[in-house]
């Protein structure tokens, strides 16, 4: 519970941070510190330097871009997302996701950029961001690149960001249709045993489009395209939906840990998905 020795550097700008990271071996970015500091205290991670990007105001914003897309600066906290009127009105599912994360204290410090870079397999944003077709903007020495969230997260606690890159921004296209997020956890605010998000467009009971993603039940959050294909184009009946979900869940390999076995997680995933989709469909 006491970290190893490290030095501290407060970055003045994104460029400054990238320069520092490029010239100091073992240096690591700290944003809200809500995932990094616990790992340091457990001595699982021991950076030589902490590069604090917390004071870089240019990374803290919520705004709508030219094409009507939502642009969120990496340093925006879970609480700011949860409380943003713009998001509540036009991307409500994202606010509903943010409010399910951890507790008030952690939501007030933890950032969306930090959550994505930490890449906990059970993190709450990814399923929602995936069904909304979101991307992240990553900046390095050579400039910036844009990566879909689905491709950004590679596995447990691994992303395709380089050690000297900074995640700058999350970009979320506008959506129409009904979107929902749901989470099953042991306690309010625990990391999910399983979480799921869905986006559903229906016309007169006929499903025109559906996107579904789940987290916590594998090395990384995944979209369930086979399930989507089965549901698309028709009306939803509970029995048929259940068997489609059963099929999709068979493909998953959820982990076993103290909060639930793989077998149990699989069963709960079925329940969670069925309830989420039916709820959106009937909403």
């Amino acid at each position: 519970m006491i970290p190893r020795k490290f030095e501290y550097y407060r970055a003045k700008s994104v460029k400054d941070a990238i320069d520092f990271l490029s010239t100091h071996e073992g240096a690591k970015v700290i944003a809200g510190g809500q995932s990094l500091v616990p790992l340091m205290k457990l001595r699982i991670v021991s950076p030589t330097y902490l590069v604090d990007i917390g004071r870089i105001e240019e990374l803290r914003y919520i705004r709508v871009g030219d094409k009507g897309e939502l642009r969120i600066g990496a340093l925006t906290t879970h609480a700011e997302i949860e409380e943003s009127e713009l998001i509540r009105e036009r991307w409500p599912v994202l606010a509903e996701t943010a409010e399910k994360i951890a507790d008030v204290q952690i939501r007030s410090r933890g950032t969306i950029g930090g959550s994505l870079c930490h890449a906990d397999p059970a993190a709450d944003y990814p399923p929602t961001l995936i069904v909304l077709g979101s991307e992240v903007v990553v900046r390095g020495k050579e400039g910036k690149r844009i990566v879909p969230v689905e491709d950004f997260i590679l596995g447990p606690f691994t992303t395709n960001i380089e050690e000297n890159e900074i995640l700058e921004e999350v970009v979320i296209p506008p959506y129409n249709g009904k979107a929902g997020f749901t989470k099953f956890a042991r306690r309010e605010g625990d990391l999910a045993v399983v979480n799921a998000a869905a986006l559903l467009k229906a016309d007169n009971g006929k499903v025109e489009d559906i996107r579904v993603a789940v987290g916590g039940v594998g090395p990384k959050p995944v979209r369930l395209e086979a399930l989507e294909d089965k549901v698309k184009g028709g009306v939803i009946e509970e029995d048929k939906l259940s068997s489609a979900i059963d099929e999709a869940v068979k493909e998953l390999e959820p982990p076993t840990d103290v909060h639930g076995t793989s077998e149990y997680r699989r069963e709960v995933t079925k329940v969670v998905l069925k309830r989420l989709i039916l709820d959106l469909y009937r909403r």
Partner: protein
């Protein structure tokens, strides 16, 4: 001496929900805890812990650690074994002889201390731990009782030749006849898991061995300092009078801080070896390594007549509590205090095994063995009701000890001094509107929702008669009875100050004591200073401390006794000065006045002036000064005899009714309503007692639904952060409604009784019974805790609709 009746008649503050006096400081961050104290030239310790549950220590190389700048000392088990005596079993006929405060030769649990470092700062101390090289040879582990009892099981203590530390059997009444007469016998094996209280403040020890005076000064978060001085003195060979132990207010005790003495010994030894003041602050991870409550199981049989009358009970208790021999047996023996519950059971046998395994050590956590005992009993009663097709309330009413039987002596000798068990349940049923819920349950079931109502009624014993530790050990018990010391003084300006030899663990001692003393001197509680720091130089008894709900009995007893003596002295001085008979004097407005002419008066300040400075104005023969020390013991403790003994000396009781809803697809439980009727005798501060009933119940709910230490196949504890070990937080705690009954105890000075453990004791069965009731369409039987969503989901799948 002021009689109880008089005090009760005149009281202004006893019984009032007076605002806690300690809160202003606490809320401002001025609690003044042990970790707030830094000594000059302070050094810091860190402890290396075993990564194995069972392994030989082949070698330890500390040379690299010693080379790290800032490191002053590294202590290992080899050195400890040369300098100290091993820890011993208090309750066992034969004690292990190889268990030292730091492991020597082999480790017996994941997290056992293997070495300790002293450094100039705590960061260096922890860095040094990474540099200690230990070579282990893993041994086969014994993680369960079943494994420990196998004929060729690996031994935790080779010197004993067995993993059974204690085995004993007790029998009361005529069991054979009882079971022969029975129409039905409910027979079940119930299991309890490992869980633990986790106070916000962890263990903290700051020790300084002063070589110029050969004196050890220790600050520690210790709930039982009297015993610690005894234990540390014995292990380190320092005479008790050379040990000054101070205990500042503690940030939560819950019994967890009864096991700190091992660490007081380690840190004190480090100070003695280095000559430096050494401080150790346990990390959260270390706190989760242990101690815990033990896991175990009980084979229980309840014999009944067809009409629900209970005839007899057979219990065989197996507890995995023998791996830290100091507490072996206590979890079983204390069950005598409430094994009969609220019921008129006449015939009973109790056999127990205290078993050593490679699970971590055990401590007397909130309620000790009593929560599991009540879980077993109240589950048996519900299972019996199901079998006999009776309502769970009817079977309880049928068997309750009646109020007119009080004081009631159980077949083992426990004396229930007062209480009205039928009324307690009746009030609870009214408060929750039991019949309405039963109706609602049926309605909702038709909609596919599963609601259950659980009832549990239990005894909440307090004030341990410590002789019970020795029921299975031949010879004269090292400790017997229960007592405490209090000091009260009026200072030179007439202000009153009180201290007891117990510790403040967050349960409002300052306020409760101030309320009582205020009524005795007819002043307000704010005018009473209560010193919350335990200081062994002020006098203490062998088991002084705060545990076992003894505060309301022996602490208050000592305070009242001392206050009355001081009051008499003040009245004698005033009487001599005013030339008025003491019987004609009253205390009012910080002065002593003649009843018939209040202008004939002398102020507290003037009385103090006489006592401290104008000594020649004292009545002839009166000693100067106004300091009184009084010791009190509960007069009803009996010496332990296998056929007749009282384990605890007060017996509060309560009824818990819990309504749950179970999501049958995921197994998740929500508590919809929770009502408690609590009878803790006369209550000094109802708000404090209500708070304890709620907190204690939430800790029980945690034990049923959330908390469990899980170990892998190698014996590694998998729950070493609060991400794996789940405590209920405010979002999980239901609104708990507490109603009060007051049946004063005739056996305590103010009629008070135990108040802090009832929730932890009685809630387990309330929640479990509710869940089983909710799942009755699935024919589910609950015999095991915790009821995690997955376990409930499995029960539902395993049951038949």
């Amino acid at each position: 001496m002021l009689s109880l009746q008089e005090l009760m008649k005149r009281r202004k503050y006893i019984g009032q929900a007076f605002k806690r006096l300690e809160d202003l400081k606490l809320l401002r961050g001025l609690g003044g805890f042990t970790d707030d104290i830094e000594l000059a030239d302070q050094h810091y310790a860190a402890i290396l812990r075993s990564p194995y549950a069972h392994a030989k220590i082949k070698s330890i190389d500390v040379s690299k650690a010693l080379k790290l700048p800032g490191v002053v000392y590294v202590l290992t088990g080899e050195e400890v074994a040369k300098l100290t005596k091993p820890m011993y079993a208090r309750a066992a006929p034969r004690s292990p002889t190889t268990h030292y405060i730091i492991a020597k030769g082999k480790v017996r649990y994941h997290g056992e201390p293997v070495a300790a470092v002293v450094a100039k700062d705590k960061y260096t101390a922890y860095d040094a731990l990474d540099l200690i090289e230990v070579e282990y040879e893993p041994l086969p582990t014994v993680m369960t009782i079943e494994e420990a009892l196998k004929p060729n099981a690996p031994l935790i203590y080779e010197e004993l030749g067995t993993n059974i530390i204690i085995h004993d059997k007790f029998e009361f009444g005529d069991l054979e006849t009882a079971f022969n007469r029975a129409d039905v016998v409910i027979k079940e094996r119930f299991r309890i898991h490992r869980y633990a209280s986790t106070p916000l403040e962890n263990y903290v020890v700051n020790a300084y061995y002063d070589k110029t005076r050969d004196e050890l000064l220790v600050y520690a978060t210790d709930q039982q300092p009297g015993r610690t001085i005894w234990g540390v003195s014995r292990v380190l060979g320092i005479p008790p009078e050379k040990i000054r132990l101070m205990v500042p207010p503690i940030g939560g005790g819950f019994g967890y801080k009864l096991a700190i003495w091992q660490y007081v010994a380690i840190i004190s030894l480090l100070s003695k070896l280095t000559g430096k003041p050494v401080k150790w602050v346990q990390t959260r991870m270390e706190s989760l390594y242990g101690p815990h409550r033990p896991d175990g199981y009980m084979d229980a049989e309840l014999a009944l007549k067809r009409d629900g009358t209970m005839l007899g009970m057979k219990l065989v208790d197996y507890q995995a509590d023998g791996n830290w021999p100091f507490v072996a047996g206590l979890y079983s023996l204390i069950k005598f205090a409430n094994m009969f519950g609220c019921y008129r059971i006449k015939n009973l046998s109790f056999e127990f095994y205290s078993i050593a395994t490679n699970k971590p050590p055990v401590v007397q956590d909130r309620g000790v063995g009593k929560p599991f005992m009540t879980f077993v009993l109240e589950r048996l009663v519900d299972l019996a009701a199901r079998k006999l097709k009776m309502d769970p309330t009817d079977i309880r009413f049928k068997n309750y000890i009646q109020p007119e039987e009080m004081p009631y002596t159980t077949p083992s000798g426990e004396v229930y001094e007062s209480g009205n068990y039928p009324l307690t349940l009746k009030k609870a049923l009214e408060a929750i509107n039991y019949k309405e819920w039963r109706k609602k349950q049926e309605e909702l079931r038709r909609q596919g929702r599963y609601i259950g109502i659980g009832i549990s009624t239990g005894i909440e014993p307090g004030t341990s008669n410590l002789g019970y530790y020795y029921l299975s050990k031949p010879g004269i018990p090292t400790f017997m009875g229960a007592g405490e010391i209090a000091t009260i003084e009026m200072d030179m300006t007439g202000r009153i100050k009180v201290r007891t030899s117990s510790c403040e663990i967050g349960t409002g001692h300052m306020t409760s004591i101030a309320q009582v003393v205020a009524d005795i001197f007819n002043i307000s509680p704010e005018e009473v200073t209560v010193d919350l720091t335990f200081d062994s130089t002020q006098g203490f008894l062998g088991y002084s401390g705060t545990y076992s709900n003894a505060f309301q009995d022996v602490d208050i007893g000592a305070v009242v006794k001392a206050a009355n003596q001081l009051k008499e002295k003040i009245l004698r001085i005033a009487s001599y000065y005013l030339k008025v008979d003491p019987k004609q004097l009253i205390i009012e407005g910080r002065a002593v006045k003649a009843v018939f002419d209040k202008s004939r008066m002398i102020t507290f300040e003037d009385i103090a002036t006489i006592a401290y400075r104008r000594l020649l104005m004292l009545p002839p023969g009166e000693e100067p000064g106004l300091v009184v020390k009084a010791a009190y013991m509960n007069p009803f403790a009996k010496p332990p005899q296998k056929t007749n003994f009282n384990i605890q000396l007060t017996h509060a009781n309560s009824a818990h009714i819990c309504v749950v809803e179970v999501d049958i697809e995921t197994g998740k439980v929500s508590i919809l309503k929770y009502v408690i009727v609590h009878d803790a005798g006369r209550v000094i501060n109802p708000k404090i007692v209500e708070g304890m009933a709620i907190g204690s119940t939430v800790s029980g709910i945690g034990g049923v639904l959330y908390e469990e230490f899980v170990f892998d196949e190698n014996g590694n504890n998998l729950c070493l952060t609060f991400g794996e070990y789940l405590k209920p937080t405010p979002t999980e705690a239901p609104d708990i409604e507490v109603h009060e009954l007051q049946s004063p105890a005739p056996s305590t000075v103010l009629g008070t009784k135990a108040a802090g453990e009832g929730g932890a004791i009685t809630s387990l069965a309330a929640v479990a019974n509710a869940i089983e009731d909710a799942l009755s369409p699935f024919n589910v039987k609950i015999t095991e805790l915790p009821l995690t969503p997955e376990r409930i989901w499995r029960l539902i799948r395993g049951g038949k609709r």
